[in-house]
C-alpha cells in the first residue's frame, strides 16, 4: 500500500496568534504571570496619565495663556508660536519663499529616490547646480524683485534645515577627499589629511562654533564682517567632513582588495577605479554610517545657539522665556523633540529603504 501522509492538523488556537504568543511569552508560569501583570499595570498608569495630559485634558485653541484653563497640556503655547518655531523672524509676507525652497528640496529628493522617475542624471545635476542658486535667491533674495531677508532674521526649523542640509552636502565631497587622502600612497598627503581629520574629530562642535565666531574674524581685515550664518556653516562643514571622512574610510576598508586589483588589472586609472568601482560600492556600505552622522548633525545644529543663532530648539527656549508665557516648558520641549524626531526617523527609514534597493544580492 502506498504511503499517504495525513495532512498536518492546524495548531490549536491556544498556541497560535496573539493568544498563543501571550501565553508563551507572558504567562508561561506563575512568576512570569505576576511580573507581566505588574508591568502591565505600570504601563497602563503611565500611558493613561500621559494621554489624558496630552490629549484629553489638553487645550488646543486660543490665543493667550488665559485660554489654557484645564489642567492638561497647553498646546496653545505652541500653536500661537508655531510660525516663529518654523521660520524664526522671517517676515510673514515672505514665508512663501522658504516654503517654495523646501518644496523644491523635497521634489528633488523624490525625483532622485523613486526608481520609476526617469532622467536621474539630469535630476542630480539640477539638484547640485540650479537648486542651490534658486534656494539662495528664494531664501536670501536680492534679485528677481525679491527683497533681501538678512540671515539674522532666519530661524527655527528653517535654520535647522539650512544648516544641516548645507553642512551635509558640503561635507560629503570634502569627507571623501579626506578619506582618499588618508589612504593615499603619498606620505605628505596622508599626513595632512590625518592631522586634519583627527583635529576636527577631537574637538566638540560647540567649541568649533565658538572658535568660528570669535576667531574667524581675526583672520580677516578689520571691517570685513562675515555673516554669522556663514561662520556657523564653515564650522559645521569642517566638523562634519572629518566625521564623514571616517565613515568613508570605513566603507573603503570594508571593500576587499580584490576589487582594487580587478580594476587595476583592467587598466583603469586611479580616478576611474575610485569613481566607477570603489566609491559606488563603498557608498552603499556607508549609507548607515552617513545617515548616522547626518542624524547627529541634525540634532547638533541646536548648538548654534552659542553664537546667537536660534533654530527650533533655540526658538522654543526663547519663547519659554517670554514673561507672558511662563510655565510651559513641557509643551515647548515636547514640540521641539517631536520636530527633531520626525526628521531623524524619516532619515533612518529612508536609509533602510535605500539599502534594500541597492542590494544586488552580493555579500562582499
Amino acid at each position: 500500500m502506498p504511503f499517504t501522509p495525513t495532512p498536518a492538523r492546524p495548531a490549536p488556537i491556544s498556541q497560535m496568534g496573539v493568544i498563543g504568543w501571550l501565553r508563551k511569552n507572558l504567562f508561561s508560569n506563575i512568576p512570569n504571570t505576576l511580573l507581566s501583570l505588574v508591568a502591565l499595570y505600570v504601563v497602563w498608569q503611565v500611558l493613561s496619565s500621559v494621554i489624558s495630559w496630552a490629549f484629553i485634558n489638553a487645550d488646543w485653541v486660543g490665543s493667550s495663556r488665559a485660554d489654557c484653563t484645564s489642567d492638561g497640556a497647553c498646546w496653545v503655547f505652541v500653536s500661537v508660536r508655531l510660525n516663529q518655531f518654523i521660520y524664526g523672524f522671517y517676515p510673514a509676507e515672505a514665508r512663501w519663499r522658504p516654503n517654495l525652497a523646501f518644496a523644491l528640496l523635497v521634489g528633488f529628493l523624490i525625483w532622485l529616490a523613486v526608481p520609476r522617475i526617469p532622467y536621474k542624471k539630469l535630476g542630480g545635476i539640477l539638484a547640485l547646480t540650479a537648486f542651490p542658486v534658486a534656494a539662495y535667491f528664494l531664501l536670501y533674495g536680492g534679485a528677481f524683485g525679491l527683497p533681501v531677508v538678512p540671515t539674522s532674521r532666519w530661524g527655527g526649523l528653517l535654520l535647522t534645515i539650512v544648516l544641516a542640509v548645507i553642512g551635509i552636502v558640503l561635507a560629503m565631497p570634502i569627507g571623501i577627499a579626506l578619506a582618499l587622502g588618508r589612504r593615499s600612497n603619498m606620505p605628505a598627503v596622508r599626513l595632512v589629511c590625518t592631522i586634519f581629520i583627527e583635529f576636527w574629530r577631537g574637538v566638540p562642535l560647540i567649541t568649533i562654533l565658538f572658535m568660528a565666531s570669535v576667531m574667524l574674524p581675526l583672520f580677516f581685515a578689520e571691517g570685513v564682517s562675515i555673516d554669522r550664518l556663514i561662520r556657523a556653516l564653515i564650522g559645521i562643514t569642517l566638523f562634519q567632513s572629518a566625521y564623514m571622512a571616517e565613515v568613508v574610510r570605513g566603507g573603503l576598508q570594508a571593500l576587499g582588495k580584490g576589487q582594487y586589483e580587478a580594476a587595476d588589472a583592467l587598466g583603469l586609472s586611479y580616478w576611474q577605479k575610485m569613481n566607477l568601482i570603489i566609491l559606488p560600492q563603498a557608498l552603499k556600505i556607508m549609507i548607515p554610517g552617513i545617515v548616522n552622522t547626518t542624524i547627529s548633525l541634525w540634532k547638533d545644529t541646536s548648538l548654534v545657539v552659542i553664537i546667537g543663532l536660534l533654530e527650533v530648539l533655540g526658538q522654543v527656549r526663547q519663547a519659554l522665556a517670554d514673561p507672558n508665557w511662563l510655565g510651559f516648558p513641557a509643551e515647548g520641549y515636547i514640540f521641539a523633540a517631536l520636530t527633531f524626531w520626525v526628521f531623524c526617523f524619516s532619515m533612518s527609514r529612508f536609509s533602510q529603504y535605500l539599502e534594500r534597493r541597492l542590494d544586488t544580492g552580493h555579500k562582499n
Partner: protein
C-alpha cells in the same frame, strides 16, 4: 614607443631577467628568469607559499619587483603609470575569487574597461561584451548581477571581462580552486578553447589534466625559485628534481 610599433612587436611575449622580490626581509622571488614565447601556454605549479601568485602578479604590476627586468610585449615594466597602464591593457588577469564588480550587471562588468580605458562607444563595447559572453556560453545572464550567478558562471564572466580588452596575454591565478567540483570543468573548457585559439597564457593551477592537455611547458616553483620546467610529458613522467617528484606524488597521489 608608439602604438604602431607595439602591435607589430613580435619578440617574446614576456621576458623576465634576474628578477628578485622581497616582502620586507622575506625573499619571495629569487632570481627568476623566464621567457614566454608568443602563443605559448604555460602552467605554473608548486606548493602553497612558493611564490606562484606573486610571480604572475608582478607581470601586470599588482606587485612591484625590486631587482631585475620584466619586459611585457616589448615594453619594459618601469615605475611609470602610463607604461604600467599600457601593459595592463595588453594583459588580462583572472583571479581565484573572480573579483567581479558586484554593483554592475554582467554586461556592464564586460563593457566597463572598453568604454573607459579604450574610449569605445557604449554600443560597440556592449556588442563586444555580448560576443565574449557568448564565447563563454552565458549570454542569457548578461543582465543579471554577479551575485545571482553560480561560481562557475562568475568565473566565466571574469574571463569574458578580461577578453573584452583584447589582451595579448592572459594570466590565470588558480581560476578553479574556489569552485565546487562540478563547476570546474565548465571553466576549464573555456580555458582550453582559449588555449587552442593561440592565446599566450600563464596559468597557476593544480589541474594537471588541463596542464597535460594544453600546456606547452609546465613550471614547478618552490621556495620562491623556479625549480624545474619542462614540456608536460617529460615533466610528469620524468621529473628531474627530488622536490618536483615529492610535489607530484602529493598532488597526483590522491
Amino acid at each position: 614607443m608608439t602604438t604602431n610599433e607595439k602591435t607589430e612587436y613580435n619578440g617574446p611575449a614576456i621576458e623576465i631577467k634576474g628578477m628578485n622580490k622581497w616582502y620586507g626581509d622575506f625573499h619571495v622571488l629569487k632570481d627568476i628568469n623566464l621567457e614566454v614565447a608568443r602563443g605559448e601556454r604555460i602552467v605554473i605549479c608548486g606548493p602553497s607559499g612558493s611564490g606562484k601568485s606573486t610571480l604572475i602578479r608582478c607581470i601586470n604590476r599588482l606587485e612591484e619587483h625590486q631587482e631585475g627586468d620584466i619586459i611585457v610585449d616589448g615594453m619594459p615594466l618601469i615605475n611609470d603609470l602610463k607604461k604600467i597602464n599600457a601593459i595592463r591593457k595588453e594583459v588580462g588577469m583572472v583571479f581565484q575569487h573572480f573579483n567581479l564588480f558586484p554593483h554592475l550587471t554582467v554586461l556592464e562588468n564586460c563593457s566597463l574597461a572598453p568604454i573607459w580605458v579604450k574610449k569605445m562607444p557604449k554600443k560597440e563595447a556592449e556588442a563586444i561584451g555580448m560576443k565574449f559572453l557568448e564565447r563563454v556560453k552565458i549570454p542569457e545572464q548578461a543582465h543579471k548581477y554577479p551575485g545571482q550567478l553560480s561560481g562557475g558562471q562568475q568565473q566565466r564572466v571574469a574571463i569574458a571581462r578580461s577578453l573584452c580588452m583584447s589582451p595579448r596575454i592572459m594570466l590565470f591565478d588558480e581560476p578553479t580552486s574556489a569552485l565546487d567540483p562540478e563547476m570546474i570543468s565548465e571553466v576549464l573548457d573555456v580555458m582550453v578553447e582559449l588555449a587552442q585559439e593561440g592565446m599566450t597564457m600563464l596559468c597557476v593551477t593544480h589541474e594537471m589534466g588541463f596542464a597535460k592537455k594544453v600546456a606547452d611547458r609546465v613550471i614547478f616553483m618552490d621556495g620562491g625559485e623556479i625549480v624545474e620546467q619542462n614540456e608536460p610529458n617529460e615533466f610528469f613522467n620524468n621529473p628531474q628534481e627530488e622536490r618536483t617528484r615529492l610535489f607530484l606524488s602529493q598532488i597526483l597521489g590522491h
